[in-house]
């Protein structure tokens, strides 16, 4: 078996056996589930107080709750990715835990390459966890028909492509989430302290939100702007609002100027951070 394959198998063993990874997935699923459940309770209370009931408001539907629930779970997923990957690696280096793999005929490039591969996979499993939990919860509490308000159909699932856009926005989240994972590993390899790596990751995550005005049209070229939960231009947030009946939630212009670049902008970041992680590793810390 090649050295890189051994390193990859080792990393996947850690991914499937570390308790922190299990609890992160559990937390993401729980948050997505609870968000949808609380939305149902809130709507029920409002309806009991004379507010709109089923078929009277767009929110009382599977599709918007599915999108919002998934996004709620992804809040924890995004922070968890950075905390786990950026915060964990400096701790592993400081404790000497990565000396052993490097004594088993694995080079640093093998080890970090395998860790970067896991950084591409972890966001996908968390995205799947949030999506599945949200779908299960939303299907338990809500019906999945056309979006209605005051007894009238305001959005057709088929004709207005509500489901299509929600699925598309989840696909759109894949690139930014993967780039986030690779960025977290790169910061973990570069910074001595986990807290500094975590701080750098969170800063870059929140930069597009804090500097949205300054960045203007260039914001979508920074992948963190497109993160499904913490991104200032979250496609999932817009499609969830659209599914709730806000049919002006996104326009053709916005789709063209933000969603369009978003399909490509994370991949140069993936490459850049992968190279940074591989070649700026603090060898003296070993």
């Amino acid at each position: 078996m090649s050295a890189f394959l051994r390193a990859v198998r080792g990393e996947f063993y850690l991914l499937t056996h570390r308790r922190s990874v299990f609890w992160l997935h559990f937390g993401v699923m729980l948050l997505a589930t609870l968000f949808v459940a609380f939305a149902r309770i809130k709507l029920g209370i409002l309806h009991g107080a004379g507010g709109p009931g089923p078929e009277q408001t767009g929110a009382w539907n599977f599709w918007p709750q599915f999108g919002s629930g998934a996004r709620a779970g992804l809040f924890l997923a995004e922070i968890g990715i950075v905390a786990h990957l950026a915060g964990g690696l400096p701790r592993e280096i400081a404790s000497g835990a990565i000396r052993d793999p490097l004594s088993r005929r694995l080079s640093r490039l093998h080890f970090l390459g395998a860790r970067l591969l896991v950084a591409l996979v972890l966001p996908l499993t968390l995205l799947a966890a949030a999506t599945l939990a949200s779908a299960a919860s939303a299907s338990t509490f809500f019906e999945a028909g056309d979006i209605m308000e005051d007894g009238q159909v305001i959005l057709s699932i088929e004709d207005d492509e509500v489901a299509h856009y929600l699925y598309l926005s989840l696909w759109h989240a894949v690139g930014p989430l993967m780039a986030l994972g690779v960025m977290a590993v790169a910061f973990g390899a570069m910074f001595r302290r986990g807290a500094v790596a975590l701080g750098a990751g969170l800063t870059l995550m929140l930069a597009p939100t804090l500097l949205h005005e300054t960045l203007g049209d260039r914001a979508p070229w920074l992948f963190t702007d497109l993160l499904p939960a913490l991104g200032a231009d979250s496609f999932l947030e817009r499609t969830s609002r659209f599914a709730a009946g806000f049919n002006d939630a996104f326009t053709y212009d916005w789709e063209e100027s933000v969603v369009g670049p978003g399909w490509y902008s994370p991949w140069p970041a993936v490459l850049l951070f992968a190279l940074m992680g591989l070649f700026l590793f603090r060898r003296k810390a070993l």
Binding site: R6, S95, D100, R104, R105
Partner: protein, 316 residues
């Protein structure tokens, strides 16, 4: 020469943060040897080990393991095991899982097996048993005591069929039974399986009994290196005398054959180093004839502690 050496370091200089850490370390460890690396805290033992394992870049010198440069150890055909300080257990995994992931990364079987060349490859259960941690295999890394962590690191280093073990302070924090168990294990590995073991330690008495050769590092430089038996013989025995008439005793000892250096007054008596040529009967007779009222006359074998202190004294 390199064919017979498991590890060699020559003229090693390391600077960290602009500060010289190693200023000329030379070590040569033969295959199948049990080699003790000795030195005070901060002398440079761990740094030398990290350079040997290719973890730390160095500015000057030559560092090789089985004739392969330390910068290319991932290409080394021989397997080697390490146990550095800190032990490097992943606290989020159990001890057993730590060993299993090491097996996966090393391409090793988790079960005991014998390869086509007849070499026994130790699996997870075997190494846990060897270090006496089978009952702790389901404890997470952070639930192990300091000593158990050391033993766990040794267990991980033993996985498979390593030809060289590099162990930094493996005896630190162990109870006497644990020390004895590991030293027996190291001795067996060297004698029966031809495994080379390099260990750093402050347990000089234990090192003296098990190691074939030792190297002493002080302030980033190799002070002394050699076979334990030769170093002890060269160091000479220690003679302790309690007697009256200090001036007469000092005069007789100074003129006796085989006495190294001037006698020193300690604990109400005299201490002096003596070589094999020293004749105790004749010296005692002279002291008695001189009326020195000898109340104690003891000759003690030199220990590695004496060798260590002599080396440090000479260096200072």
């Amino acid at each position: 020469m390199s064919d017979t050496l498991a590890a060699s370091i020559s003229g090693l200089h390391v600077r960290l943060g602009g500060r010289p850490i190693l200023k000329g370390v030379d070590l040569a460890v033969g295959r199948g040897e049990l080699y003790g690396l000795l030195g005070r805290n901060g002398a440079g033992k761990t740094t030398a080990m990290r350079c040997l394992l290719g973890f730390l870049p160095f500015q000057q010198g030559k560092v090789e393991m089985f004739g392969v440069s330390a910068t290319r150890l991932s290409r080394l055909p021989q397997a080697y095991g390490i146990g550095l300080d800190p032990p490097g257990m992943d606290d989020s995994l159990t001890l057993r899982q730590n060993l299993e992931v090491a097996c996966i990364r090393g391409g090793l079987s988790r079960q005991n097996h014998t390869d086509s060349q007849g070499r026994v490859h130790r699996g997870v259960d075997d190494v846990l048993d060897l270090v006496g941690l089978s009952h702790r295999q389901h404890n997470r890394g952070d639930r192990l005591s300091h000593g158990q962590g050391r033993r766990a690191a040794v267990a991980r280093a033993l996985l498979g069929a390593p030809e060289l073990l590099v162990l930094d302070e493996p005896l630190s924090g162990l109870d006497p039974e644990g020390v004895e168990r590991l030293l027996d294990l190291f001795r067996t590995l060297c004698q029966d399986l031809g495994v080379t073991v390099i260990l750093s330690s402050h347990h000089l008495r234990e090192v003296e009994h098990v190691c074939d050769r030792v190297g002493i590092i002080e302030d980033g430089e190799t002070l002394l290196e050699g076979e334990v038996a030769s170093l002890l013989a060269a160091s000479g025995d220690r003679l302790r005398i309690e007697a009256g008439q200090a001036d007469r005793v000092r005069e007789i000892l100074s003129s006796a054959t085989g006495v190294v250096g001037p006698p020193e007054q300690r604990h109400g008596g005299f201490e002096v180093r003596v070589q094999e040529s020293f004749d105790p009967v004749a010296t005692l007779q002279k002291l008695v004839d001189a009326g020195a009222e000898v109340s104690a006359f003891e000759r003690e074998r030199a220990s590695l502690i004496d060798v260590f202190h002599q080396a440090l004294e000479q260096a200072s």
